[in-house]
Symmetry: D2
Subunit: 338 residues, 4 copies
């Protein structure tokens, strides 16, 4: 259920509605918009319509949300969401490029990449400190020492940091470093973890599960939103199908329905989906054309020496070429490359 | 196996190599290129390398083709293929737009659509006369009367015609009307039909089967190519996956690997894949960005009155808008809209 | 729409109803049952209910069929269908074992297999004369000479013959030899072919398409049934999924829903699905436990010398072992091995 | 790498080998067998072969394990594993039936179910205290009060308890109650959780992820095994495919390859896969026929009143009927129903 406040509604009016919702044993969720405020209600809302809520001062309308996801739904919020990081904004006007190596590499390499990104005007660095690996015998990331290096880079270069949270017990450590916390594919329905990031103040990049339907993916976002963290960006990274020409099948076709059903921004990961460097550029460009709000892409000065996923990392020259294309395409789609 | 002729090779040299191949009980396939000719060899080529073929005049190289598809392979032909229709050319420099209703509609509507297409500079009209329908009780198309109407439109408007061949017994009737014969998804491995169109002189648009791997799809093309019809364009139209947000999952990610493995052009069908009008435009644009050579798209002056698939047909206004975007994007990708 | 006749209805009554249906421009389909007759009606049945049909002598009830498939539906026919071959019956009381090599082998081998099958009490021999092959360069079967050999074996050993029809033009030739005509996976939606076998008097084994839903598969059966050939057995042979541990994923779980929705018998092909000999037995046994009415299984005296698909063919010893298990399981499931 | 000890090897010999492995910076994993002991080695085993390990007293052989999973591999352990619970044993001779409601129900119902199971000779009760739910607004289980009730039932009826662990922080609480800890589908690659249960002494039931390949599933088991917990049973519960006739596609065909590649026992969950009561029995029986070592099945005295998943729960009469079939089939497959 959604309470839409009139443009004339005062702070006082809003506070009164919030209290009235709580008095009915339900949870209010403030959704401030550019011209008016809406208040989402979750819980057992059956009796709300016939209650006196509609007649409170400032209330313009009560709208029933038909989807199982509520706060993530376009019904709840007609305008596209924007996600505010200290370094930039993810949302309808921007095309956000998040770049960096798969895993945190050695200090020298990380500085080299950071310098390069700053030179190119890229504002968010990606790099995994904790790595989810299929095999217990594989390299599991640099862990806390990786986080520490990311923190230093953030200070020195002013870059925003995106890195993956795999374990609730690391949530606080990550919150200090990350500007955008990534929830990985394999954890999309790790509800414990979703609830935990729902309590953080840091924006979240929620990767789609390998076989998640659009509804399940939005329900996973709902876990975070309903916990109070309204800053969620969705990340498409390839799904499991019978097709064997790519590592995964990048589901670019999910972007228009996602945009239709939800106000949340969409970032595409062309690197993990394709698993192969020459396919990254066409998939990245197709993402913009399909309506995405950005990409998260793996780059490395010497991909063949990367500690993981070198085969899918762009080198600097290839990344420069990709940027050039984005610069040309951006104006057509009303997007500033950022 | 591929015989690459030197630039200096004469007609006589080529003829001699062809005869030598035939004399060994194998099938030669002439593949003329802009600067030199290649001759594909299919059959049991095991003994070819050690035979004297390499030492014939004009022969520059013998290349073993490692893929199970030979004539469709990039190894056989390094340059992108072009497909020549009387009205236009499908291939690397062009972005070909094929448009029209799902099924052949009534005369008045078909004239309206044809006039509109000519006005917009579109050169190929699509419309099904024979329709493959899941149910035996559904409308099966206008059949021969539909073909006849298409022939009239072709004469009156100079439009090229794309229409589906479902049955070998209609091959000759279709050949008289169609400039590009469509083989539908459900017939991608109807080998009888593939062999039949392999004997025609009309170019073929080969739709991908709903669960065809890239290799199977190229093997289906190989059936046509090995029959002697070297004019095949591949058409991606969505695959079967668990995802339920679209009718099918448009596999835009197949374009780069297809281009890497094969020299054949790729056309994308965003209408059947999405099944929903608002998703057609973003998927069409993403196709160009991913490297496609064109689209085949359903349009109708009044989609809600179409005799089939109205929900996915663009109206004229929507199609105009799509064209505008293509016009802007074309130069970035080195493509002339055609 | 279904007209259910009373037990007391005479031949005359039935004839009168059939005529009344035809007089309304609709198609009647006689469905004789053990105690009473039903008459399916297809066509535009909207006005039937309010017409006088219900009041004709002998008519007990008029039932609206809610599924898009009508004649294939359990609503049309409550009892399980049986399919009558000269050599045996496929249906609820029997568990039919169809066995033989993938392709028709040389004469000596075919006689060896036939003798063996007769000794074991197996009544139907399978062997492909026309083979659908992914590659145009692969062995395409012995074709007409293969058919001829099958005809000889049929005469000599009294075995029923199952073989695949790939091309409408071979329909008559096959009809003379085959007791059960197989429509292959790749042709499940070759509607031309379906319509053709709908006109034959020979029972049909309809393999499921690699990515066919249950509804599409039943709609394909409906094409055959609505053409007048009421003898259709469904054949599950594995579907396309992401899983890579088998060639295809044998969808044993489709059997209960199929039985619920349709009266048609189900045969399982564990050979093509698994592609690997040691997996054939457990999958065959699981099929019986799940409710199948039989299996079609590849056997060969020396699998490693088979002209195709040797890796999945059981040798005689393995087949004997499988039979022993079926003999033990049969009584539990009320099935006679046949 | 695997060290196979001779039959004559003493405790002292084994201890010496273990120490030698540790001295090389690698991890030894004791795998006692009926007649001889093997010692798995994980870590960077490249240099092991040329080291002196092979010449230590009691060592019979050194075997290189070719699969990425080591301890889970059939190469490491030729004999089928058995998992010992206080109440019963899961493994090659038994067919273990785990039954109970989806979620812990009210006290009265839980007692009723427990009494019933004891009467029928069933030894393990399943019931979820913590429930993974797609929606944050759905019932999340009775949580700790549910665990407490399970503990009481265990004491009163002597039943083993299977319940799901969703969160590492509950591991200790669950360990006190559960005899078999379930890791759910959505957590199959929650590596944090896998590592945690790897440190427990309680056996683990590892459900397959919805789109997990066999290798990924075994790698997930490897996380647990390599942590030191050698008691893992694999649970197939349906995969994501395009098919829509069941909630998920129960992949019975994974059982033979799993048995071939691994020594771990396999339990099948026919309830979650089908989501529909009438399909549970045929799928359960097919599982035994395909080689499974047991099932985990939902039952409820009044399924229509279950607090979750009533549509797929068997009532007592249906469960009795299922047991009767298992009793008949067991001897054929060398399995005692337990």
């Amino acid at each position: 259920m959604l309470v839409v406040m009139g443009r004339e509604a005062t702070e006082e009016d809003i506070k009164r509605v919030v209290q009235a919702i709580e008095a009915r044993g339900l949870a209010p969720h403030l959704m401030p918009g550019p011209t008016r405020t809406a208040i989402g209600i979750t819980g057992n809302t059956e009796a709300v319509e016939s209650s006196g809520l509609r007649s409170l001062p400032g209330v313009r309308d009560l709208i029933r949300v038909t989807k199982p996801y509520k706060l993530a739904s376009r019904e709840m919020r007609i305008d596209d969401s924007t996600i505010k990081l200290p370094q930039t904004t993810i949302g309808p006007k921007n095309f956000t490029i998040i770049a960096g190596p798969c895993s945190v590499e050695d200090e020298k390499t990380m500085h080299k990449i950071s310098e390069y990104l700053v030179e190119r005007g890229i504002r968010i660095l990606r790099a995994g400190a904790f790595k989810p690996r299929t095999s217990p015998y594989s390299f599991q990331g640099k862990e806390h020492s990786g986080l520490k290096l990311l923190e230093e880079l953030k200070k020195e270069y002013g870059l925003g940091i995106t890195t993956e949270l795999m374990d609730s017990t690391h949530a606080e450590a990550l919150e200090e470093v990350a500007d955008l916390i990534q929830i990985g594919t394999r954890n999309m329905q790790n509800f414990t973890l979703l609830k935990r990031v729902g309590q953080l103040n840091t924006p979240v990049l929620l990767k789609r599960g390998m076989s998640a339907t659009l509804e399940e993916w939005l329900m996973a976002a709902e876990y975070i939103l309903s916990g109070g963290n309204m800053q969620v960006a969705m990340c498409e990274r390839g799904i499991r199908t019978f097709a064997d020409h790519n590592r995964n099948t990048l589901d670019i076709s999910v972007i228009p329905p996602l945009k239709r059903q939800s106000h949340l921004p969409v970032i595409v990961d062309p690197s993990h989906a394709t698993g192969y460097r020459p396919y990254v550029k066409p998939m990245a460009l197709a993402s913009m054309a399909a309506g995405a709000d950005g990409i998260i892409v793996e780059i490395h000065p010497q991909p063949e020496q990367a500690s993981s996923d070198g085969a899918q990392s762009l080198n600097f020259e290839e990344f420069d070429d990709l940027l050039k294309f984005f610069q040309k395409m951006g104006p057509i789609f009303g997007k500033t490359i950022d």
